[in-house]
């Protein structure tokens, strides 16, 4: 076991051991290795430092490193678990784990709650939703009358904000998600089930020699 540890550590400088990551997530060791191939290609696209910065993330998502979008910014912030402004491999795997088809409803619900709670107050305030809505409309070059935006917010909050305090708490959000499962549609990436076929080169680069399967 001592040999295994140092071999893996040599090949994943500063990165976590794939066996450890696999044990903490829904991914198998092979899948973590395949994710490493993806991680390598994203993290070396602008600065080859083994870390994904904002630009590299934007490049991977939009194929345009300058393009920004409120939604993507939130996702980046949530992936950047240690709040360092960059995403390391451990962050990457653990965050993508929530998007795995086998991840729990609870994990996915919690992620979306934190996604929309932009200022991290523990509540999704009406103003935050308005901001995101306006950002989306701007990006799609759609102009909506302020009245219409208010109507959309009214209806959404009517459904979700049960205690009528102008904000959506964690419990209200969980209940709301149960009534509207399509809210979690973005939280599952079917690609993650077939990750080893999408990135097969890991097979020849695998440094994890003796794996107890």
């Amino acid at each position: 076991m001592g040999c295994l540890h140092s071999t893996a550590a040599r090949e994943f400088p500063g990165h976590e051991n794939p066996v450890k990551l696999a044990s903490e997530t829904a991914f198998s060791v092979s899948e973590v290795e395949a994710l490493y191939e993806l991680f390598k290609s994203i993290s070396s696209s602008v600065v080859d430092d083994g870390l994904i910065n904002k630009e590299e993330f934007q490049l991977a998502l939009f194929k345009n490193r300058k393009k920004e979008n409120l939604f993507a910014n939130r996702i980046f912030d949530l992936f950047d678990v240690k709040r360092k402004g960059v995403i390391d491999f451990g962050d990457f795997v653990r965050s993508l784990n929530v998007f795995h088809p086998n991840a729990s409803l609870e994990e996915k619900t919690d992620f979306t709650f934190r996604l929309y709670d932009m200022d991290c107050t523990g509540f999704i305030e009406r103003q935050e939703v308005k901001q995101m809505l306006i950002a989306l409309l701007c990006e799609s070059e759609m102009k909506l009358a302020d009245d219409t935006i208010e109507v959309i917010l009214d209806q959404t909050f009517e459904d979700a904000d049960v205690d009528r305090d102008g904000k959506i708490g964690k419990t209200e959000w969980s209940d709301f998600v149960i009534k509207n499962p399509s809210l979690l549609k973005i939280m599952t990436l079917p690609y993650l089930r077939d990750i080893t076929t999408t990135f097969p080169s890991f097979v020849f680069n695998s440094e994890v020699d003796e794996i107890a399967t």
Binding site: F62, S140, M142, S182
Partner: protein, 232 residues
């Protein structure tokens, strides 16, 4: 056929070594024809390995083989559902007037055109299987305009409240193109129409959407980057 795997090792690297050397043996009850085909499929060299075209011509393979017909990959509504929807036709005449489209809330709207799927695509995925447009026209008008536009394009249309299933009459690269659409109400004056390819070739879906959305220009307010437009 054998009831067990050709390569089965407890250790991943040993497994891969065996596969690369094609170290396997067929059970004695396999026919010579079967053994030959298996040997050619499990050939580690992609140059000498049997191709699909060659496989389809193999004598052993051809025995009792029936070529597939391309089915629909994502049909939600079956013929029974359609019949059920129309069986109480007298009643539905009355209820349709009262029925409203499904509503779409602010969060669904915000997340509708965002997805992390692009992380996994090496190039910009210019042709998607799903798209949407917004409209400021009433839902019933959107529905009838879509039906009017789809028919001359050679599509058979089945409606169920604010959903439409369209099926192209021509058989394309992957069978007939079929598309499912649904109208959602975001606000009384704003609707979002989602379209999704449920069968057939994605490139054909892209072509279809180009024609379809231009036929709908009176109704479309903004389209979510028509599959070919990628605002870089």
């Amino acid at each position: 056929m054998a009831g067990y795997l050709p390569f089965d090792e407890p250790n991943l690297m040993t497994l891969y070594k065996r596969i690369c050397k094609a170290e396997f043996s067929c059970p004695s009850w396999f026919s010579p024809g079967a053994k030959e085909v298996i040997k050619r499929i499990l050939d580690p060299s992609p140059i000498t390995r049997i191709s699909i075209a060659e496989l389809l011509e193999d004598e052993w393979f051809k025995q009792g083989y029936k070529p597939p017909s391309f089915g629909q990959d994502d049909e939600d509504i079956t013929i029974d559902d359609v019949d059920a929807a129309f069986s109480n036709s007298k009643e539905s005449l009355v209820t349709e007037k009262k029925a409203k489209p499904e509503s779409m809330n602010a969060f669904e709207l915000i997340s509708s055109s965002n997805s992390l799927e692009n992380l996994f695509e090496k190039q910009a995925q210019l042709v998607k299987k799903e798209t949407r447009f917004t409209s400021q026209r009433p839902a019933s008008e959107i529905m009838s305009k879509m039906e009017e536009t789809a028919k001359p394009l050679g599509f058979n249309v089945r409606k169920d409240k604010y959903k439409i299933k369209m099926k192209g009459d021509k058989s394309g690269r992957k069978g007939q193109l079929s598309v499912a659409t649904e109208v959602f109400e975001v606000a009384p004056s704003l609707h979002v129409v989602e379209l999704r390819k449920t069968g057939g070739d994605t490139l054909e879906f892209h072509k279809f959407y180009k024609n379809f959305s231009s036929g709908l220009k009176d109704v479309v307010w903004n389209t979510d980057g028509a599959p070919e437009e990628h605002k870089a």
